[in-house]
């Protein structure tokens, strides 16, 4: 594959020379260049070329001919830099930087390389000077022409886009798979691409990086529960089985795109699905802690035996209603679709038939409803 860019900018060559004069050697991706002070010449090596004893002008010519290598070095060391390791690693990941040789990568970048990050689709392309440009959109908009999407360029816009879901409901969990569609960030710089992703999915890049480095710090359920104080201090009462339910309820991919890595404790794994997400979840989040508080108080209750009379279709209907709510499908059930158990008319009919004027299920024998309801405490 031939080079995709056939020139280098003067500032790129200047940066190249000045790095060589201070460090003597540049070794990056498939480029190796060395300055030999004794002879004031350069050695230059890529996958295609090996040349030595080059004068500065010969070096310039060599660099121009191998401009992909040079602009690649320039982008990674001068534009991105390695001061923020997780930013560097993330951008490398976006173009499989550690897997493909420069020339192949440039060929692929010419068409655009695409990666998914949660519900984001991130496409990396090359600008004229070899700097990368990034486009970010919702994965479900992969087929849309960018002109049909609302265009953004400020990374902080991601905050507003991701505050509500497509139905206008507040999203308390940024990694819930409910990101609305219909927008695109175009021509982002490396830094802005990083900031945009970090705004949609805060801290996911830093945690992904730590995981890759083998330094991810997992706080398991017990660690997290025992750390809590105030109104959340009670959650360490939750039994193992209930914690299983919590994880299965909240942390599966249909609810959260982080991959749950926390377990009950260091020795005791949970069997609930943790999901296949690319970025890890390193401890129960605040939403799970707050919900667990409610479950802790509910789990304190003893079971009782009730006798209700239901037809088998009515029993099935109650199951349908629970599924519809749990799977967030109530809005999808059409008003007149009385074939669905969770249809509004069906539910109203059931209520008319099986519940008393206080809204309680009528018991078969006693006829006394359980009307003592625990006062709900307002979440703080």
């Amino acid at each position: 594959m031939s080079v995709t860019l056939d020139s280098i900018e003067p500032n790129q060559f200047d940066a190249f020379l000045s790095t060589l004069s201070s460090e003597d050697v540049i070794a990056f991706d498939d480029l190796y260049v060395r300055y030999e002070p004794k002879t004031d010449t350069y050695e230059f090596e890529t996958n295609e070329i090996t040349a030595s004893r080059l004068s500065e002008s010969e070096l310039h010519e060599q660099a121009r001919q191998a401009s992909d290598y040079l602009t690649n070095w320039w982008f990674w060391s001068e534009v991105v830099g390695d001061e923020v390791p997780h930013l560097f690693a993330f951008l490398r990941f976006l173009e499989d930087g550690d897997e493909h040789p420069v020339v192949d990568r440039y060929a692929a970048l010419a068409d655009g390389m695409t990666k998914a990050w949660g519900q984001l689709q991130i496409t990396t392309t090359l600008a004229q000077d070899g700097a990368r440009q990034y486009e970010i959109r919702h994965v479900d908009d992969h087929d849309s022409s960018a002109s049909t999407l609302d265009a953004y360029s400020d990374p902080l816009s991601a905050r507003d886009i991701s505050t509500f879901d497509g139905k206008g409901r507040y999203r308390p969990l940024r990694t819930a798979p409910s990101l609305p569609t219909g927008w695109v960030f175009t021509e982002l710089s490396a830094r802005d691409a990083y900031e945009t992703v970090d705004t949609f999915y805060p801290a996911t890049i830093a945690n992904w990086y730590r995981e890759h480095q083998g330094t991810i710090d997992i706080d398991h359920w017990r660690d997290t529960a025992e750390r809590q104080t105030g109104i959340y201090g009670i959650i360490d009462e939750l039994a193992y089985d209930a914690v299983e339910h919590v994880a299965a309820t909240c942390c599966t991919d249909s609810q959260c795109l982080k991959r749950r890595e926390w377990q009950y404790d260091e020795e005791t794994p949970l069997h609930a699905e943790g999901g296949d997400g690319i970025f890890p979840c390193r401890e129960p989040c605040s939403l799970v802690v707050a919900a667990a508080r409610k479950w802790t108080t509910l789990e304190r209750e003893e079971t009782e035996t009730y006798t209700f009379e239901l037809t088998s279709s009515e029993k099935e209907q109650i199951e349908d209603i629970i599924h519809a709510v749990a799977d967030d499908e109530t809005d999808d059930i059409r008003e007149a679709d009385v074939y669905e158990g969770a249809n509004r008319y069906r539910a109203r009919f059931l209520r008319e038939k099986r519940m008393d004027e206080h809204g309680h299920l009528i018991e078969a024998d006693a006829g006394h409803g359980h009307s003592d309801h625990e006062q709900d405490t307002h979440e703080e």
Binding site: P172, A203, N207, R210, G230, S286
Partner: protein
């Protein structure tokens, strides 16, 4: 490299809770006083647990967007940020005077300057007054006006009432408003009886809260009799018992709050150049013109 980290409560239920935090962060970003401005939340993301690992600076100033010293600033935030060896005595505070402590954040093994909450900073008094100016549309408001600062009360900790008293005293000392009164939601003197406490016809009421929510948008307007039903809204000013009540909503939504955040960081040693002057001017002109 200098970083500012604003930490706040946030909410799983109410998106307005974190809105002021983001707004003030944006204001500070726009004037470039810090190389980096990040936000972290107890209830939103990035969480307090993880915000520091996204921070790049080596001089890190953590400013809690909270009203008073207490449970959150003394226990929750230091624990969640993993401030190694934190002890509240490092603030050496009487409940109002926490300024800052230098401490290592274990998560990133870098030192951070952990500042006192915005609510107890003296600059907060100016924000309360600015809020009165905004709601009345009069930058000289004072003559013929009473001023009520409203707080929770001692429900959670006594320092919350201290902060209310402190600012009410300071406003009183300005000699700008005819009468100044601290009122509470859950103890005497109660905000329900606001009109009993003032002779003046006009009363500006400013809740010392960080964000609008349940208390400031539902409880207080109904308790004061501005409306029977908060969902229907209320007039500004609203007529109650022969008084005109100018209800301002949470002080924390006032643009000038960015100034207090900057003051906290500057007190802890951040170099912020002329950012304070810029913010004071910028947030003034951003106010909608009302009245004359």
């Amino acid at each position: 490299m200098q970083s500012l980290v604003i930490v706040a409560h946030g909410s799983h239920l109410n998106p307005d809770s974190s809105a002021p935090t983001h707004d003030h962060a944006d204001t500070i970003r726009s004037i470039g006083a810090f190389d980096e401005v990040r936000t972290g939340f107890w209830k939103e993301e990035p969480s307090l647990r993880e915000v520091l690992r996204t921070v790049e600076g080596d001089e890190i100033y953590v400013v809690p967007l909270f009203i008073s010293e207490g449970y959150f600033t003394e226990q929750v935030i230091p624990r969640e940020l993993r401030l190694d060896g934190w002890d509240v005595s490092q603030w050496d505070s009487d409940g109002l005077s926490a300024d800052h402590a230098v401490i290592t954040a274990e998560d990133i093994d870098r030192t951070v300057h952990y500042c006192g909450p915005v609510g107890t900073h003296e600059a907060m008094t100016d924000v309360l007054v600015r809020r009165a100016e905004s709601v009345t549309g009069d930058s000289d408001v004072g003559d013929g006006f009473g001023f009520a600062v409203v707080g929770h009360g001692t429900e959670r900790n006594e320092n919350s009432a201290k902060a209310i008293e402190y600012h009410a005293d300071r406003i009183r000392q300005m000699d700008r408003f005819e009468e100044v009164q601290a009122l509470y939601m859950d103890e005497e003197p109660e905000v329900d009886d606001v009109t009993d406490f003032f002779e003046t016809e006009d009363i500006v009421v400013v809740p010392l809260f960080i964000a609008d929510g349940f208390h400031t948008q539902e409880d207080i307007p109904e308790d004061m009799g501005l409306t029977d039903d908060y969902t229907k809204g209320y007039d500004i000013p609203a007529h109650v018992d022969g008084h005109r009540i100018w209800y301002a909503g949470a002080v924390g939504t006032e643009g000038l709050m960015a100034d207090v955040i900057l003051e906290r960081a500057a007190d802890a040693g951040a170099s912020i150049g002329d950012a304070l002057e810029i913010v004071r001017e910028q947030t003034r002109s951003a106010e909608p013109a009302m009245g004359d």
